[in-house]
Subunit: 208 residues, 2 copies
Amino acid sequence: MARPRKPLLSRDRIVAAALALIDAEGLAALSTRRLAAELGVSGPSLYNHFATKEAILDAAADTVIGNVDVSMFGDGRHDWRAALLEWARSYRAALTAHPNIVPFLAVGPGLRPAGLRMADAVFGGMVEAGWPPAQATRIGALMRYFVTGSALGTFAGGFVGDPAAYDPADYPHLGQAHRLADHREQVDAAAFETGLRALVDGLALQFR
Amino acid sequence: MARPRKPLLSRDRIVAAALALIDAEGLAALSTRRLAAELGVSGPSLYNHFATKEAILDAAADTVIGNVDVSMFGDGRHDWRAALLEWARSYRAALTAHPNIVPFLAVGPGLRPAGLRMADAVFGGMVEAGWPPAQATRIGALMRYFVTGSALGTFAGGFVGDPAAYDPADYPHLGQAHRLADHREQVDAAAFETGLRALVDGLALQFR
DNA sequence: GTCTATAAGTGGATAGAC
DNA sequence: GTCTATCCACTTATAGAC
């Protein structure tokens, strides 16, 4: 096939396919060949739209962050505590929708446009609410730590469903740990909510 | 060279070299060939000590977690708040000593022995302090989220030192963001401390 | 703007000699 | 227990035809 009448590819289609592939098979499964095959196209064609594979990943990561709702900052209908709670939940939901890209997204430079827009909104919202700028910066940072950490690693998933795996001689307190394996999502979601509330409550103690 | 009098390799030497290589050049730089070269040995020799490359990474990750101090749990000299604060700081220090392995360590199953010993100690310490088991589990989980998240991603590092990078039209509140690039460690460390205190203070409000 | 062909290289892992 | 030799799948990216 030579040049088709209509372009077969577009940046959006490539990013969507990359995200789907990463979701289905993990970060390591994303190769330019695999991705091109998924799009019904030959490998090198991707380079007409992105300079490198890294650029594709950056675009995919930014798409994920773009799904985070930041409309609660500075709309006058939320106090800073409510805004922080809502934003954190939206942030976590955006990441857990594509968990396999989180390691890339969390390590990367974070200079991507959607990430900056999010940082800008959070910082602006906190300052407007009365936080000193230095504290507003820290709040943005620490919330990022907590949300990315919770989206990255399932805690409950670290335990297997086999009671025999936890010899009381080695792990005296883990006698019931095998039960966690059956409720991974619930355990992780509950831990996130507990931590989120503690964080916001604890910050409120520092306000002013 | 045939079989040497004394083994040239050992699991410990391999793990130490792997960690050094990951520290110096990142996770992606760890290949069996590179690692073997670093040890003055030929590639396949590693397979006499580890079945797969993954097993080497698991051992390296477990070594890092093994450096976390958990002695403050259940020693009678710490209340739960002080124990949590001390543990979290030791945990973060262990991870930031080897930041490049954190993505692997945080995603992985966490079934490794040192990780289980740590989970066991934290859970036991919280239950002993009077927390209900379900809450003790959540505390272990949410602290893991926060610490791994903070060790994984530098927040401040996501900003470049060039003021022109933050056009006020796009990011109305990031006018001073370029200053963060100069103090990455301090900003990240301060955000961690602020979040840690908020977490523990917030949890105290939920106690009983 | 997609194709074919291919460069130029890396990866993990195995077989069998010593 | 380390070696050499080797397999083979797979990688990102480029050159040039159409």
